[in-house]
Structure formats: structure tokens, C-alpha cells
């Protein structure tokens, strides 16, 4: 593609992603830059909701590429991820072949001669026409390159990992009947994982390993700023400070960036100008997804608001 921007430096990556509304830390930007330069997939790990999937979307939008997404789940296999034969069409083809068999084999006297002619005829039964490309194969066939997002790889079976190895290291797949299909333009591959199970060393070795944790306070404020319009600076600071206090608690599920953004939207909708105990208690269910967590956090709300307000003054 002509308008494909070559990311010449890490700053360019950072600002490019920022233009798509994705505020990347320097580590993330370095990872994206390196993955383009040395053509390696990025394996992104981190808690749910810190923007792992968003990263892939932002890269695709920024570089003007198509994004192909493969959502992993238990039982995902070759036929759903890589390619499948179009069985119905193959059946039709054999029917047609049967009708035309006389013409093809016309004039053959013996069975042997007929077989020879059949061999000469050329076998299209297993050919490109009858392959139904699934996401992985599609990604290799994009002429302009694409962003291939393999989401939640930890949810898939261990066998599926091995299937990915060839794609990840050489950007090619081997279909036994057809041979090896190589990528026209190597896609940018992003794998995400919630660390539900440990991934194999072979897979990890082929990737750059990026861990996205909860962002620092300043960064999170910038993220909220870019994602939620019409939120005042005081409120933004207060709410991010409050969330950082919440994260220090021992909870079942800590609120992550996506919850922060949701909460900011809720606060804007409720036209809150600053945090107070009442409004926080009413909207705590946006932040915390377990009853036990809400019960654990509720008594601390007042202190946390005070703390957030204080750090606001000094910060």
C-alpha cells in the first residue's frame, strides 16, 4: 500500500498509535517498533482489560491495514483456524467429472490406457479452488499485509500452539495436498494471553514478549483523556487516583483500564464534577465485578476519596 507509513522511530509509533486513541507506554511502542523491524510476532500478556486487543486494533487503524482476528477457544482446530476443503463443491466436481468421463477417456481401449489418460487429465480435486481459507491462511494471502490478531491464545489447546509455530516463525503454512503457502507480505502478528495456562517455550521463543500491566497514574489519566470526552481535569485526576487506591486492595478482580474508561463515561453521564462518597458508592458496580469485592471496598471509599483528593493537591 502506498500510504503505508514506515515507522521510522519509536516516537513515530507512539504518536501514530496516539492518533488512533491508543496511548502507548514507551515499552509498548518499542515492542511494536521492534516487531516491525525484525519481523517477529508480539505475545502480549497481562490482566484482562488493559488494552491488549485494543493494541492490535490501533496498529491496524494506524497503518491502514486490514485486521484479521482469530478468537481462540477450547477445541479450536485446523479446520476452523487454517483452511478447510469445500466438500460440497468437491462433490459437485466429481459429479461433473462423472458426466464428462466419456469425453475425457474417449477412445481408450483398455482399462490401463484409460487410467493413463485419467492421470494425464490433471487433478483439480485437491487444488486451490476448493480451499476455504480460514483466518490464518487469509492473513497470509493479503497482498498488502495485515494485522493478524490471535486473541486469548491461552484458551486454546496445547496442540493448537504447535499448529501456529510454522506461521509465527516463517509466515507460511503447509497444506499437505498443495504444498507450502508463504505470506505475500508478512503480517504483523499479535498474540494475546491472559496467562490462564503457561504457554509452551517453543511458542514463546518465537515471539517478543510484552507484558502490559496496569498503567501508571499519569498514563492512565492520558488514556481517559483521549477516550472520554468532556471529563474535567479535576475529576479525571480524582477518579484515576481513586482507582489506583482500589488496586492496592486484595480483590478478586482488580479494576483495569477498560473499567476506568467505563467508569469515567458513567461519571460524565451522571454529570459529576468531582468524586463524593454518594456517587462512588452508587457506581462502584461499574468498577468491581464481584459482590465480595464491592463489600470489601465499600467501607474504604471515604478514605480513598480523601487520599485521591490529597494526592491531587500535591500532584
Amino acid at each position: 500500500m502506498a500510504d503505508q507509513k514506515a515507522s521510522t522511530s519509536i516516537e513515530a509509533v507512539e504518536s501514530g498509535l496516539a492518533a488512533q486513541g491508543y496511548i502507548a507506554s514507551r515499552q509498548i511502542a518499542t515492542a511494536v517498533y521492534l516487531s516491525q523491524q525484525i519481523e517477529k510476532p508480539i505475545l502480549v500478556e497481562g490482566p484482562a482489560g488493559v488494552g491488549k486487543t485494543e493494541l492490535a486494533k490501533a496498529i491496524a487503524a494506524w497503518r491502514g491495514m486490514k485486521m484479521i482476528r482469530l478468537q481462540c477457544y477450547e477445541g479450536l482446530d485446523e479446520a476452523k483456524a487454517l483452511y478447510e476443503w469445500k466438500y460440497a463443491k468437491q462433490l459437485l466436481y466429481t459429479q461433473i467429472l462423472k458426466d464428462k468421463l466419456g469425453e475425457v477417456l474417449g477412445g481408450a481401449q483398455t482399462l490401463h490406457a484409460a487410467l493413463d489418460q485419467l492421470h494425464d487429465f490433471g487433478d483439480v480435486f485437491f487444488s486451490k479452488e476448493f480451499v476455504e481459507p480460514r483466518p490464518l491462511l487469509q492473513a497470509l494471502e493479503q497482498p498488502g499485509g495485515c494485522v493478524l490478531l490471535i486473541d486469548e491464545i491461552d484458551k486454546s489447546d496445547a496442540e493448537f500452539e504447535s499448529l501456529l509455530l510454522e506461521i509465527l516463525s516463517d509466515f507460511q503454512v503447509t497444506i499437505p495436498e498443495l504444498g507450502t503457502v508463504s505470506a505475500i507480505t508478512p503480517p504483523t502478528v499479535i498474540l494475546t494471553s491472559n496467562s490462564e495456562r503457561d504457554l509452551g517455550d517453543a511458542l514463546k521463543r518465537r515471539c517478543l514478549h510484552l507484558h502490559i500491566g496496569f498503567p501508571e497514574q499519569r498514563l492512565e489519566e492520558r488514556i481517559v483523556e483521549s477516550r472520554v470526552h468532556g471529563i474535567s481535569q479535576t475529576l479525571r485526576r480524582q477518579m484515576v487516583g481513586f482507582i489506583h487506591e482500589i488496586r492496592s486492595l486484595d480483590l478478586k478482580k482488580l479494576p483495569s483500564v477498560s473499567e476506568t474508561i467505563d467508569w469515567a463515561r458513567v461519571l460524565v453521564l451522571l454529570q459529576a464534577s468531582e468524586l463524593d462518597t454518594e456517587i462512588v458508592k452508587d457506581t462502584l458496580n461499574v468498577l468491581l465485578k464481584y459482590e465480595a469485592d464491592i463489600e470489601a471496598a465499600a467501607p474504604q471509599v471515604t478514605t480513598f476519596i480523601a487520599k485521591a483528593a490529597r494526592s491531587n493537591v500535591f500532584g
Partner: protein, 458 residues
């Protein structure tokens, strides 16, 4: 730079980050892309390519900071220059002349090291130490006891012998200069010692840890020192992780058993009993179920503690564990172990049943009365204890019934085989009803024992 990166990879391996050749190539390519001018970016790039998990990232980050904490010569040079310049402008010309005069003192005829020390060229000294460290292959250092030998090797490589000769000669001719040189030598020794310590911290951490773990693994659990308890717990956790990794992966193994004649015949009735389609029996595989009976009386308590810690950190592998503790009276402790931290749990168990004199007979009676129903034909029963029942009735008959009701009965005894049967040990009498009896005094034996038990279910 390439040399430095290779040394860094070695240091990374020392810090416990597995760096394969392929990864080091990737890291090299990445570094070639980002350059080495910005240390933060270099750090990110190395962390991205080499580390493959969050723990590794932390370890590697520390390693990076330590590795590059050596003062960078060039910067220091600049500082030194500016300092010199500042001094030059501040101080009166006379003192400047004096120092110059001192510099012009007859240093000819001295060895290069002596000249270097006298000229106080920190930059050159640092460079010389670095190259001497390379010559002495400091990166091979493994144990803290090697510090002395590496220090002396580095000093030798720098030309200590020549310096000594110079010192001897100067003491006779120019005592004040000799004094300065001696001070310089002391400073040099210190600098070399620091370099070696840093090298030790960089390259030898994992080796030292392995050695310590090795010793710990084979140390008798019962006689472990208090300060080592924490380390031992960490080791047990490591063992648990290894066992989990080995056994938690669902292995696809042939589950087909013998030919199922009845179903084959029925299925092929349509063909007049000619077996076109065959039906096979499936091998049944059990999920591990473990019932553990642990003696927590004085001598065995420590071993039981570690055993319980191990068996209860195997959730992924063993989904059904029930543990019981006794010295004379037996209680169930599964809940305590599940809900509390290992330290608190053990304390509570001890306060409830610990420190009594052991009475296996009454403990077995308690078990039969209350918990016999927990045993199924799939259960492995593990008894951990020294079988010293203080000459009370051992009630081996109950153990026989337990053995009959369960899949296997494993007895782990922390005492050596030689002691079995002597004094009040009832081991031989109990052993007749056990599927396996083994000694279990060290962490290694504990690991093997548990691993074998779990493996029977695979």
C-alpha cells in the same frame, strides 16, 4: 559492543533467565535496530526479546541494572576533565604548578601499572581492570569462595609483579613516591575486589542457588535449622510447581483396552456375526484421590509440615486431598490447610494435636470410627510417620482394613531403614499391609515419593 552483549547474555543466564542461541540472535538484531545510545530503550529491547515471562522480566531488569552499573568510562572522563578544569580555575596558579611538578617527578623506569596508579588516571585504571578481568575470565566465577583467586588473577594480569619490584626499588630511592604508590595499590585492590564481587553477583547467582538447593534437597527435613525453614518452603513450592507441570497436562495416551466380545458380536449381528466392526473396551483412568495421615508428634512434625505443604499445593494435579493429623488423637486438617497460610496452618494444627507422644493405635481407631467412609477403591492412602507407638497397641488390624478398602497404601517413614523395627518401632508389623514403604527424610525423597504416587494415576 558485541562482546559486551555476549557477556550480558551470560549474566542473564546467571540470573536464571534461559537465553537460547536463537534468542540471543534476536536480541542482537533488536539491538542493532534500536542502537545503544539510549539505555532505557536498550533495556526495553533486551527485556522484550530475552525474557519470556513476568518473573524473568524482573530478574533480567535487575541483571541489566547491575551489569551496566559499572561506571561508563567516557562519562567519567568528561567529569574528571571538568573537575580538573574547575580546579584549575579555582586554585591559585602556584598549586597548579606544584601538582604539575609532582607529576613530573621521575616516573621513568617504572612499570606501566605503577605509572598508571601514580598519574591517578581513573579512566585508564578502570579500563585496565576490565580488560584484566576479561583475561582472567571473570565470567567463569561460580562460588563466593573463588573471590580470592579471581582477585589475584586479575591483579597478576595487570602486572602486580612488576609493581612490587617498582615498590621495592622506590622505597629505597624515593620513599614519598613509594608511599603514594602503596596507597594507589590499596585503592586498586579495593577496586578489583568490587569488580570481582560484582562479577560474582552477575554470573554466579544461579549456580550458587543450585548448589544451595542441592544441599537443601538432600538435608534431612527433621533436623533442619530454623533459618532454613523459609528456604525449604520455597524449595518445596518449586518442587510442587515442577510436579504440577509434569502431571497437569492432559496426556493423550491410548485408552483402548481389550476387545469387547459382547458388544462386537451384537454390533455385527447384521453380518451374521462376521466381525466387520470391532468394539473395544476402554481403559478406565482414575483421578488422583489422596488421603494423608500425618504424624505431627515431636520428631516427625517438621517432615509432616513440608509434606502437607507439598501435597496441598498440587491442586491442579490432585483434585481430592483430605489430610488428617495426629499424635495420639486424630483430626481432619484439610480445611485449615486450605484456608490459612502454611505458617499459620501448621501452628494451628500443632496447637490442636501436636507435641503429644504418638499413639498410632488410638489414631487409627479415631480414623476408623469417623473417616473410614472417605476411602474408596480409587484412594491412595499415605501415612507419614516413624511408626514409633511408645509400646502401645499398634492396631495393625485397622491398617489392614484401610489397605483393603483403598487402591494403595503408602507408608513414608522419615527414619532410615536400619532403625525400622528397633526399639518401639512397629514398622515391620505395619509394613505387611502397605503397598509401598519408603524412607522419606529429605526433600528429594519427598519429591520422588509424591511423584510416584501421582504417576500411578496417569
Amino acid at each position: 559492543m558485541r562482546e559486551n552483549l555476549h557477556r550480558f547474555f551470560r549474566a542473564a543466564r546467571g540470573a536464571g533467565v534461559r537465553v537460547s542461541p536463537a534468542e540471543s540472535i534476536d536480541a542482537m538484531r533488536a539491538v542493532a535496530q534500536v542502537g545503544v545510545s539510549d539505555r532505557a530503550i536498550l533495556r526495553d529491547a533486551l527485556l522484550l526479546t530475552l525474557a519470556k515471562s513476568q518473573d524473568e522480566k524482573l530478574a533480567l531488569g535487575d541483571c541489566f541494572d547491575l551489569f551496566f552499573s559499572q561506571p561508563e568510562p567516557r562519562q567519567e572522563q568528561a567529569e574528571a576533565d571538568s573537575e580538573d578544569a574547575a580546579q584549575g580555575t579555582d586554585q591559585s596558579p602556584s598549586s597548579g604548578a606544584a601538582s604539575e611538578a609532582a607529576g613530573r617527578e621521575p616516573t621513568e623506569g617504572l612499570g606501566p601499572l605503577a605509572q598508571m596508579l601514580l598519574s591517578q588516571d581513573r579512566n585508564a585504571i578502570a579500563a585496565a581492570i576490565a580488560s584484566a578481568a576479561g583475561a582472567a575470565s571473570l565470567s567463569d566465577i561460580r562460588y563466593s569462595t573463588q573471590r580470592g583467586i579471581f582477585s589475584s588473577r586479575i591483579l597478576d594480569a595487570m602486572g602486580l609483579q612488576r609493581l612490587r619490584d617498582d615498590l621495592d626499588a622506590l622505597t629505597a630511592t624515593n620513599p614519598s613516591l613509594a608511599e603514594r604508590l602503596r596507597a594507589g595499590l590499596d585503592a586498586l585492590r579495593e577496586a578489583v575486589r568490587d569488580t570481582v564481587s560484582q562479577g560474582l553477583a552477575l554470573y554466579a547467582r544461579e549456580e550458587a542457588e543450585n548448589l544451595r538447593n542441592d544441599i537443601l534437597r538432600n538435608a534431612p527435613l527433621a533436623r533442619i535449622e530454623r533459618r532454613q525453614v523459609e528456604e525449604m518452603r520455597a524449595l518445596i513450592r518449586k518442587i510442587a510447581r515442577r510436579l504440577r507441570e509434569r502431571f497437569s497436562k492432559p496426556r493423550k495416551r491410548q485408552r483402548r483396552g481389550h476387545l469387547d466380545v459382547r458388544r462386537t458380536l451384537r454390533r455385527n449381528a447384521a453380518w451374521g456375526g462376521v466381525p466387520f466392526l470391532t468394539a473395544w473396551k476402554r481403559k478406565h483412568r482414575d483421578r488422583p484421590k489422596i488421603v494423608a495421615l500425618c504424624d505431627v508428634s515431636g520428631s516427625v512434625a517438621q517432615v509432616s509440615d513440608f509434606f502437607l505443604l507439598l501435597i496441598h499445593s498440587l491442586h491442579e494435579v490432585v483434585d481430592d486431598v483430605r489430610s488428617f493429623a495426629f499424635s495420639s488423637h486424630l483430626i481432619e486438617v484439610s480445611d485449615i490447610l486450605e484456608t490459612k497460610s502454611p505458617e499459620d496452618a501448621m501452628q494451628e494444627i500443632m496447637s490442636k494435636v501436636g507435641f503429644g507422644s504418638s499413639d498410632y493405635g488410638s489414631a487409627l481407631v479415631d480414623f476408623e470410627k469417623e473417616f473410614m467412609s472417605t476411602l474408596t477403591p480409587q484412594t491412595t492412602v499415605i501415612v507419614l510417620g516413624d511408626a514409633r507407638s511408645n509400646n502401645l497397641d499398634p492396631r495393625a488390624d485397622i491398617l489392614r482394613r484401610i489397605s483393603e478398602r483403598s487402591k494403595r497404601l503408602v507408608w513414608l517413614n522419615p527414619e532410615g531403614r536400619l532403625a525400622w523395627g528397633f526399639g518401639d518401632s512397629e514398622m515391620p508389623r505395619y509394613a505387611t499391609f502397605c503397598s509401598v514403604v519408603r524412607q522419606c527424610a529429605t526433600a528429594q525423597q519427598l519429591e520422588r515419593a509424591v511423584s510416584d504416587i501421582v504417576a500411578t494415576y496417569q
